[in-house]
Amino acid sequence: MTDPRAWAWVEHLRQGGTTPWSEWAGRVEPAGAVVPGAQQLELLRRLNQSGDPQPSLVERVLAASAPGRGQPDLELVGAGRESPFGPRPVDPATLPEAELVRVAASILAEDVVAAGLPAPPRVRRPRPWRRAYRLHGDPELVAPVRDDLVARGRPPGGRSPDHLILATDLSQMLVHLWTIRGFDAGVPGWRTWLRRMEEHGTLPTRIDPLRVARRRTGRSAPDRIHVVLDPDALPRLVGVRRAPRPAPGLAAEARELGRRIGAVVGVLVPADRRKALMRRRLWPWLAEHPGSPLVVPDALDGWLGDHAGRIAEGLSRAGYAVHGNPEGLALRRPGVDAPHPAATLTLAMRMMLAGGSNANPTEEE
C-alpha cells in the first residue's frame, strides 16, 4: 500500500501519537512496501495512550503479525484504492479488543521466551526422617506445595506413602484446571470449555477427589488416603511446621491472557520448555496485576451442586479421611464469570509497557 495518509499515520504513531485513524489528515511519502495491519496500528495507538512505549517495543508492534487463527492483518478503511479482494478494510478504532490481544499476546510470548527461566530455588538435601507422601488433585494447589516441600528437603515419595488429594471448591478447581491446561497445552475460551465440560457430564479426574481416592484405593490402604480441603491441615500431614506456600492467585483477565500467550509460546519452544516458562516465568508476571478472580457462572450452580453432593456423599460412605468441611466443595466465591476482553487488553498493554522481561531480571541461563 502506498497511501500517503496511511504512512503519515504510521509515522505519527511511531512518534507516540494518539490521534485515531478516522481523525487523521496528515500525509507523507510512503516509507516501505507494506503498511502494518490495522490491528498492530490500533494496538500501538492504545499503547501510546496508556504510557510511553520504548522505541524497540514500537518497532516490534509494527512488525508483528497476529498469530494463530482469526482475522488476517486488516487494511485501513479509506487508505488509497480499496481492493475488491480480501477482507474489508476497517476503522481500527472499531476492532474488537480480542483482535488487539492476539497481537499483544504474540509480543508478550516473545518476551517470555526471551526472558528464559528464573534461577531455580535453592533445594535442601532430602531429610532422612521426612514423612512419605504423594500429592494428587487440583494442579494449581499441588504444584506450589510440591515445589515448596522439595525446596525444604521433603520431596514426595517414600515407602507406603500417605496419598494427599488437595482440593477446594469445585468452581475454583474448574478455574484452576482451565488455567493450567491453557498454560501447558492449550484450551478453548472459558465459556466454551465450561460448556463442553457440562455437556460431557463428568468432572475431569484431577478435580474429582472421590475418583482420585477410588483410583488409589486398590493400591494403597484406605487409611493412607486423605482428602485435604482445609490447607491448614496440610503441615501436619506432611510433617512440617510451616504451611507450604500456595501459588499467587491470578485475576480473571490474567488467566485469559496467559491462555493466549501460552498458545504462542507453544509454537516458539518445545512442550516441556513451554510448561516451565509458563509456570515459572509468566505466572509471577501475571500475579503482579491484581483483579477480580474468575468463577463459574451462576447458571451452572445446579450442575456444580450435584457434583459436590455426589463427591461429599461418596467420600463419607467410603470412609476416607476428609480434612476440612466437604460442604466447602459447593462453596461459591465472589468474582467475574468470564474474563472481560477490555480488561485483558489493558493487562496485556500494562505488561508490554512494563517491559516484560525487565520485570524479573534473574535469569537461569
Partner: protein
C-alpha cells in the same frame, strides 16, 4: 546452475498431498537433478508453515518450533533449485509472507511463486467436507451462509477465504514479484485426462523429463453427500465422548478415509443450484483480475469457472435416509472389523502379560520370600504394623528404605 526457489503456497484440495508425496519419495532423484526438496519427514513443510505462521494445530505445533528457519537455512545453502510446498501457506499474512520471502533469499535469490487453483464450484463443498472431517457439526447451508456473509467473521469464514481467494493470496505473497515469476496451475475440469494436473505441476516446478516414482499415492479422498451427512451426524452425537486424539484414527482415518470414501456410487457433494451463479460470478471477477496482472498461467483460466450445476442436486442436509443407512452399515462393519483386530491385539498382549507374570511368580516362588511378603502385607494394613515396620527398617539402616 541458477539458484532458484519455487514456493508453492496452495491452495488446498488441488492435488497438493499427492504432489508432496511424490516430491518426498523422490528426494534423491530430485537432488541428482539439482533440485532440493528439504524434508526429513513427509510433513516437514507443514510444520515449517505452522512455525512461520505461529499457528497452533491440535498439539502438532509443539513439533514445529524453529522448523521454518531450519528449512530456510537449508534453502539458502543449496546451489540449485529448491521446491517448498504447503497449501496452508496460502493463509499467511503479508508480514509473514514478507518474512518468508526474505528468509529464502528474496530479492537476491530468484523466488518463483506457484499457486495451484481450482474452481469454487468444487472447492466450496470440498472445504465443508474437510470441516466435517475435523469434528465440525454445522450444516452445508450454515457453512454456505457463513462464507457468503461479506463480513467474513469467525474462524470458518476467515480460514476459507484466507486459503481460497486467489487474488488476495497473490496480493499477500506476490506483491513485489514480477508477474513472470508468478505461476498459476489450474486444476482441470472434471473428466479431463488423468495425468493433466501432474503434467501442469511438472511444468511449473521444472520436473518434466525426470523419472519419478509416483506410486503409493497420499491422496485426500472425498466423500459423497450421504457419507458426509453420516460423519456430521456422528460428530454431533460422538464429539462429547470421543476425545480429539481418538477421533483422528477412528473417525477421520478409519471411517472417512478408509471406508466411506470407497463408496463411490453415491451422489457427490455439489453446490446448490441457487449458489452456483454466485460462485461462478466470483470466479469471473478473479479471472479478469488474474488476466490483468499478466501472471504465467499453466492450464486454462477457464477451468476456474467450474462445471455446470449438478442435476439433480443432492442436498447433504436432507439426504436420502436409505443411502445414509447403507453408509452407516458399512461404517459399523468397518468398526466391527477394527474392534476384532483390537481384541486380537488385546488377547495377544494379555497372553504375553500372563507369561511375564508366571515368570515373575517363578522367580519369587521361594517359600521364604512368600512368607516375608505375607508378613509385610499384614503389617502394612494397620497403623501399629506400619510402626513396627518403620522401626525394623530404621534398625536395618538406610538401604532398606525406598528413595
Amino acid at each position: 546452475m541458477t539458484k532458484r526457489v519455487l514456493l508453492h503456497v496452495g491452495t488446498p484440495k488441488t492435488g497438493t498431498s499427492y504432489l508432496q508425496d511424490v516430491l518426498f519419495r523422490n528426494q534423491q532423484a530430485l537432488e541428482d537433478a539439482g533440485i532440493l526438496y528439504p524434508a526429513d519427514r513427509f510433513d516437514a513443510h507443514f510444520l515449517a508453515a505452522l512455525d512461520l505462521m505461529v499457528l497452533p494445530w491440535g498439539g502438532l505445533e509443539a513439533e514445529a518450533h524453529g522448523a521454518w528457519d531450519r528449512m530456510a537455512d537449508e534453502v539458502r545453502q543449496w546451489h540449485g533449485t529448491t521446491i517448498i510446498s504447503h497449501e496452508i501457506l496460502a493463509t499467511a499474512s503479508r508480514v509473514q509472507a514478507a518474512r518468508a520471502m526474505s528468509s529464502l533469499g528474496h530479492p537476491d535469490t530468484e523466488v518463483h511463486l506457484v499457486l495451484s487453483v481450482r474452481d469454487l464450484v468444487r472447492q466450496i463443498p470440498a472445504e465443508w467436507q474437510e470441516n466435517i472431517k475435523h469434528r465440525r457439526g454445522f450444516s452445508f447451508q450454515e457453512f454456505l451462509a457463513t462464507i457468503q456473509d461479506p463480513h467474513r467473521e469467525g474462524p470458518v469464514a476467515t480460514w476459507f477465504w484466507g486459503v481460497q481467494e486467489i487474488p488476495d493470496i497473490l496480493n499477500r505473497w506476490a506483491a513485489d514479484l514480477p508477474p513472470e515469476r508468478v505461476h498459476l496451475v489450474t486444476v482441470p475440469s472434471p473428466g479431463g485426462p488423468p495425468n493433466l494436473l501432474w503434467e501442469r505441476f511438472c511444468e511449473a516446478l521444472g520436473l518434466t523429463g525426470l523419472e519419478l516414482d509416483r506410486g503409493g499415492e497420499r491422496t485426500n479422498p472425498s466423500l459423497g453427500a450421504p457419507e458426509t451427512a453420516l460423519v456430521r451426524r456422528i460428530n454431533l452425537k460422538a464429539n462429547r465422548v470421543v476425545p480429539p486424539g481418538r477421533y483422528r484414527p477412528l473417525v477421520r482415518e478409519l471411517l472417512a478415509h478408509q471406508t466411506l470414501s470407497r463408496r463411490t456410487g453415491s451422489p457427490r457433494l455439489t453446490l446448490p443450484p441457487d449458489v452456483h451463479p454466485w460462485a461462478q460470478e466470483l470466479a469471473g471477477a478473479w479471472i479478469d483480475e488474474i488476466k490483468s496482472r499478466g501472471y504465467h498461467v499453466i492450464g486454462d483460466l477457464g477451468d476456474l469457472v467450474g462445471p455446470p450445476a449438478a442435476q439433480p442436486y443432492t442436498d447433504p442436509d436432507h439426504p436420502a435416509e436409505a443411502e445414509v443407512a447403507d453408509a452407516a452399515v458399512d461404517a459399523i462393519r468397518a468398526l466391527l472389523v477394527e474392534n476384532g483386530r483390537l481384541l486380537g491385539v488385546e488377547e495377544h498382549l494379555n497372553a504375553q502379560l500372563a507369561e511375564t507374570r508366571q515368570e515373575l511368580e517363578r522367580a519369587h516362588f521361594r517359600p521364604t520370600y512368600r512368607a516375608r511378603k505375607k508378613i509385610v502385607r499384614g503389617l502394612e494394613s494397620s497403623r501399629f504394623g506400619r510402626g513396627i515396620l518403620k522401626l525394623y527398617r530404621f534398625g536395618r539402616g538406610n538401604s532398606s528404605r525406598s528413595a
